[in-house]
């Protein structure tokens, strides 16, 4: 069937089989391969994308047809051109990634986490990211990265220019 999905601000009209999972639709129909797939049981979270700006969803546990008429944000949509999103910058600064496979999911889950809770404690961050697996970093630096991003975004919220500079 035909669906209309807005991904990273661009509207796409595509024909999909009902059984096509959103993750495969993003990767194969739209060529947005930043969203990864790591398990079959909704356990690993490397496929997390943001739906309608407010909900982190595991795109391997949702059919593409369910995204019809919705807005999806993927890791490719985080940066504003050359300017990295504070989360991306923080993951880089804090060495919050190694093989990079879990990173898009971590970024998108953190994006919603910080949206709902702008200055989370370490405990809240560890809880909020517990639907995403990482096999490389031991999580220490991912937590630090989210803390850095929270600080940057907080500063930006106080004085909008801060982030751009």
């Amino acid at each position: 069937m035909t669906i209309t999905v807005t991904v990273n601000g661009t509207k796409y009209v595509r024909d999909v089989e009902p059984r096509t999972l959103l993750a495969y639709f993003l990767r194969e129909s739209l060529g947005l391969t930043g969203t990864h797939i790591g398990c079959d049981s909704s356990s690993c979270g490397v496929c997390v994308v943001v739906m309608d700006g407010e909900r982190a969803v595991k795109s391997c546990t949702m059919f593409a047809v369910q995204a019809d008429g919705h807005e999806i944000l993927t890791v490719e949509g985080l940066a504003a051109g050359a300017a990295l999103h504070p989360l991306q910058q923080a993951f880089w600064d804090q060495h919050g990634l190694q093989c990079g496979y879990c990173t898009p999911g971590m970024l998108m889950t953190s994006y919603v986490l910080l949206g709902k809770n702008p200055n989370p404690s370490e405990a809240e961050i560890r809880d909020g990211l517990s639907g995403n697996l990482c096999r490389c970093t031991g999580y220490n630096n991912i937590v630090k990265a989210v803390q850095q991003a929270a600080a940057t975004l907080g500063a930006a919220a106080r004085e909008p220019e801060a982030v751009a500079s």
Partner: protein, 291 residues
Amino acid sequence: MFPAAFDYHRAGSVDEAIALLKQYGGDARILAGGQSLIPAMRYRLARPAVLIDINPVSDLGYIRDSDGMLVLGALARDAELERTPKLHDRYPLLADVSAVVADPVVRQMGTVVGSLCHNDPAGDWAVAALASRAQVVVRGAAGTRTVAIDDFLVDSFTTAVADGEMALEAHFPAPPGRNAGSYQKIERKVGDFATASAAAWASLAADGTFAEVGIAIGAAGPTAKRVVAAETLLRGKKPTRELIRAAADEAAKAADPSADGRGSVAYKKAMAGVLVGRALDGTCKRLGIEV
């Protein structure tokens, strides 16, 4: 893994959903949060011929605290409950559950009613619903009926929802008077099903005795189990350490789990007791009672 092919229908309203259910009967499944159904479909354990997606129904995500009960629409997501602090004081037990179902991302899609309908013996919401004396409103072509949770949970993965019907909403009565509750769960890791779980709430009479009590355990049989013996034991008595221990023992006795990778029968029975004890401790703590 990849789901087998199916026909997909979008319901714009509950009536449309019911009409589609009438048309396809047992071949059709309702798609709400999909967090249990879709993984089962990926393993091709579940292969419904027809999926009826109710997500487009605009007014099913409601969470209403009215007429002394919390009313959750079929699309009320776990995370919504988790993020509604004003409910946490009135429904501490449900607040606890909403923060430990599956994992934080799954909870943003998963629904309370969907979890009740899936009726996994190790699921969380059925336990809380039993303890809370919840009711489920079931709608079919023939009309609407309200089913007490005890009758709703028929057997493992089987509920009172018949072919052609759908669960419309869940009712959680607000515990009367001065009350509190607590949910306790042992899981091997975040996102796993419970090894054991326990839900408890209690309301206190003026004399400080338990006026009303609700206790249920999970992963302790074909479905979540109400521990009537423990409830009877506690009702009308002042909370003491001994009393709570005795109630916990009743829970351990009542538990009838099956062994799996999560634990042996002996361990799961023992944990049912430990967790009921901790749920009651948590309840008393929230009531400001020293035991």
